[in-house]
């Protein structure tokens, strides 16, 4: 009876589409929208696609296929899977679970920020358009005047950020509210594991594509859009000689596909065993990359529009200065004849023109003001949205899109925690699944309250750089080595042939055995070298800084740096610990057996 119970208990996807959408939703996240376009722009536009596609083909797809295959074959979450492959590698599962939990903490804080902006998008005018007045209504708040209204709204009214990481500040009640809302929204979708996730994913995975298309159509009609697109896609082949480009392409593909979190293994473990996982891997990988490229088009069209607006504002400011100084009738100098007028005035009265301190307006400088991450979403994009007619609609659409992108990735993070715990039977049998998922959400919410402090943004950056990077590379490397060399590549090939009906072809063999492990090792070593060279510093927002509004670059204090190292090491330390533990257990048994050599014992 026990066996039949176990076999009927494991939930499964309603249909193949749910499974594919969930994997795609997990892979397609915020990084596709705010990291890839930035990399494309910084690394020579169209030329960046070459290292990106090479990394996808030789590193991304093989790892993806492998994770989906082992999950589907062994039908367990990450801890169970690695325990099955080899008891010594059980630590891999624990490491994946730890990373998933830690990433889930700070990822949902970003969703809380997105919710905050979403709540504020229902006002006219948008609150980040104007600086607030100071106490006696004589002018604007000085911090806002020196930087800009969007910067002030982000750093002061949203984060209320402290000048450095040592000053913790207090819990910002509005952020706590937003974080609670974010966790409630996650909970309601995650409440029964894949049963509810599968329903929610129909909306959260498809809605971003709808919004991106709407934005694409709108953005292409804005003036200056073509400047942005040309800037994005003009290939600069020189950048390919820079090894950092290849490193960034490899890490981008790796993090973009959400490998080594254990979430993909968890999702595929709910599949029927006879399922073509090779095709699934190809679909998920290619859709992820296509989404990155598709998202960068409207993003850059809008950034081009913003640069154009700033450029025109700069030139109009110059025109107004000239008009007022020389008392020329207003609107006589226009953007078109500005050059002629300037020449004429320079010849007639050069000293007066010099006194005016006209700004040099260069479109290229404005286009170069790029940003990635939260800077792109909350500063650059919000500024662009102010100038678009119907700003509230675009702001609402944009933040809902970001939220659904992040939400579908959160599902994967949490499944990477839930499925191993369920498989390890750590859940007491009296506790229904709903309560257990609620406990996970509640505990994550409580720990994540550190990100709602005044210094929360700095801590989030630390988590992002130290947890969401190096441990994943280590885990992925050991994953592929375990499957190929410990489990045995031939056994693995047989499994895949049994599941999908076809033996993996030469491409998969070559990449699994040699190319991907080698690439991962190179990427890991290069990453460590590059990170070690950089000073551990962070950009602080300090209104009392001499060069404010430029970022105040501060080094991390010793205790913070210790925490950073701890965050990188703690998830992966389980790999050697579990291996050691199992090995000492094995040694003990071996020594015992040698001592008590019983000729009648059957179990030698």
């Amino acid at each position: 009876m026990d066996v039949t119970d176990k076999m009927t208990e494991r939930p499964k996807w309603d249909n193949k589409v749910q499974y594919l959408l969930t994997c795609i939703g997990f892979a397609v996240g915020l990084g596709n929208v705010w990291r890839f376009p930035y990399l494309c722009q910084v690394y020579g536009g169209g030329a960046f696609l070459i290292p990106y596609v090479i990394a996808l083909v030789f590193e991304g797809l093989p790892l993806l296929h492998m994770e989906l295959a082992i999950g589907q074959r062994l039908r367990m979450g990450s801890v169970g899977v690695w325990n099955s492959i080899s008891p010594y590698m059980g630590g891999l599962g624990v490491a994946s679970m730890a990373v998933s939990f830690l990433v889930g903490l700070f990822y949902n804080m970003i969703l809380a920020w997105i919710l905050w902006y979403f709540f504020h998008s229902f006002q006219s005018p948008l609150p980040w358009r104007d600086c607030p007045l100071n106490l006696n209504h004589t002018g604007y708040v000085s911090e806002c005047e020196k930087s800009s209204a969007v910067n002030y709204f982000w750093y002061r009214e949203t984060l209320n950020v402290t000048p450095n990481i040592e000053t913790s500040g207090s819990l910002q009640w509005w952020l706590v509210l937003c974080l609670a809302t974010a966790w409630c929204l996650v909970y309601i979708c995650f409440i029964r594991g894949i049963e509810t996730i599968g329903k929610a994913i129909y909306i959260t995975a498809t809605f971003p594509y709808l919004v991106l298309t709407i934005f694409l159509v709108r953005a292409l009609t804005l003036s200056g859009a073509t400047d942005g697109l040309i800037y994005l896609f003009t290939p600069n082949w020189e950048t390919l000689k820079n090894p950092e480009v290849w490193l960034d392409a490899a890490t981008q593909i790796f993090f973009s596909l959400s490998l080594a979190f254990g979430g993909l293994i968890a999702f595929s473990s709910y599949n029927a065993q006879k399922n073509n996982c090779e095709r699934d891997a190809l679909i998920v990988g290619c859709v992820n990359s296509f989404t990155s490229i598709y998202a960068s088009i409207p993003i850059f069209a809008i950034l081009g529009f913003k640069a154009n607006e700033n450029y025109n504002a700069c030139r109009n400011w110059n025109i107004l200065r000239l008009t007022n100084a020389f008392n020329i009738a207003d609107e006589n100098i226009t953007l078109e004849n500005y050059g002629d007028w300037l020449n004429y005035l320079n010849t007639t009265d050069p000293s007066e023109v010099d006194n005016l301190n006209l700004k040099t307006c260069d479109l290229q400088t404005f286009l170069d003001q790029s940003a990635s991450g939260t800077g792109l979403a909350f500063i650059v994009f919000t500024e662009a949205v102010i100038n678009m007619p119907g700003s509230q609609v675009w702001a609402v659409l944009f933040f809902v899109m970001l939220f659904s992108l992040g939400l579908s990735s959160m599902f994967g993070n949490l499944e990477g925690v839930l499925t191993p715990l369920l498989d390890l039977h750590m859940v007491p049998s009296w506790m229904p699944k709903e309560i257990f998922t609620g406990l996970i959400c509640l505990s994550s919410f409580t720990v994540a309250l550190i990100f709602t402090l005044g210094s929360g943004n700095y801590w989030l950056e630390i988590f992002n750089s130290y947890v969401g990077s190096m441990p994943l590379l280590i885990i992925a490397f050991f994953e592929i080595i375990s499957v190929v060399y410990i489990y045995g590549i031939n056994r693995f090939n047989d499994d895949i042939e049994w599941m999908s009906g076809r033996r993996p072809n030469f491409y998969w063999q070559a990449t699994w055995r040699f190319i991907s492990p080698f690439m991962l090792l190179v990427v890991f070593v290069a990453y460590v070298v590059v990170e070690a060279e950089k000073q551990p510093t962070y950009n602080a927002w300090n209104p009392d800084y001499v060069d404010f509004p430029l970022a105040d670059v501060q080094p991390y204090p010793k205790w913070v740096y210790a925490i950073c190292v701890l965050l990188s090491v703690l998830p992966v330390v389980s790999i050697p610990i579990v291996a050691m533990y199992k090995f000492t257990g094995f040694l003990k048994k071996y020594i015992e057996n040698r001592h008590s050599q019983n000729p009648y014992a059957n179990d030698l």
Partner: protein, 216 residues
């Protein structure tokens, strides 16, 4: 005789010109940007518009200093440019050669700024009095910030959703239980009636063996 009249005329005209000049200590510079504000519907700045300006300013002075009867002639304008900028000074009606203090003029303009702007279909930005900063509009502060309202709506919906999702399986279970107990009663009733059927009796479950796998 004629010479005396000529000298008197020159003196008076000289006196009349002196109060208004650029950078006058008690005067203000005005700058209008009509085309920027109105675009195609811009009106041409001419003598009549200037008259309206002087009249509006006289109105502002009258409103501020309730007793004194300012007239168009008390507002003296000079140094007009094609930009449409000019300087003006205000003479007191009680003493035509004396100028009204700068501070008093500023207060009068601040009080009636809105009326002056609307007379010309302009705004604080397009009708500038150089030296008089427009009072910044205090932002509208509603009692409940709108974001809290949206937050309340979202949280309410999510909370209701969570309760529905948690409670609905329990409700379904209860309903199923009720249906099952109904069915059981029905079945026993039917069995009692079915006498001539091919079935020989009630199937006794106690000896059935569900184990398909023989245990070693």
């Amino acid at each position: 005789m004629l010479e005396k009249i000529l000298i008197l005329l020159c003196l008076s005209s000289a006196l009349a010109e002196q109060p208004c000049k650029p950078d006058a200590s008690d005067g203000y510079k005005v700058r209008l940007s009509i085309k920027t504000a109105l675009g195609d519907e811009a009106y041409v700045w001419n003598e009549n518009e200037m008259f309206l300006f002087r009249a509006t300013l006289a109105f502002a002075m009258r409103s501020h200093l309730n007793g004194q009867e300012f007239d168009v002639s008390n507002i003296i304008v000079c140094d007009e440019t094609p930009r449409v900028t000019f300087w003006f000074v205000v003479t007191s009606p009680l003493n035509t050669s004396g100028l009204v203090d700068k501070g008093v003029v500023e207060e009068a303009i601040r009080m009636s700024r809105n009326r002056i702007n609307s007379a010309f279909l302009l705004t604080d930005k397009t009708l500038e009095f150089i030296g008089i900063t427009p009072t910044l509009t205090a932002p509208v502060n509603p009692d409940t910030p709108p974001w809290l309202i949206v937050f309340g709506v979202v949280m309410g919906a999510v909370g209701a959703g969570i309760i529905v999702v948690l409670v609905s399986p329990l409700v379904l279970k209860k309903r199923k239980k009720n249906e099952e107990t109904d069915e059981d009663e029905e079945e026993t009733g039917v069995k009692a009636v079915e006498n001539g059927s091919t079935r020989e009796g009630v199937y006794n479950m106690s000896f059935s063996d569900d184990e398909r796998l023989t245990q070693m």
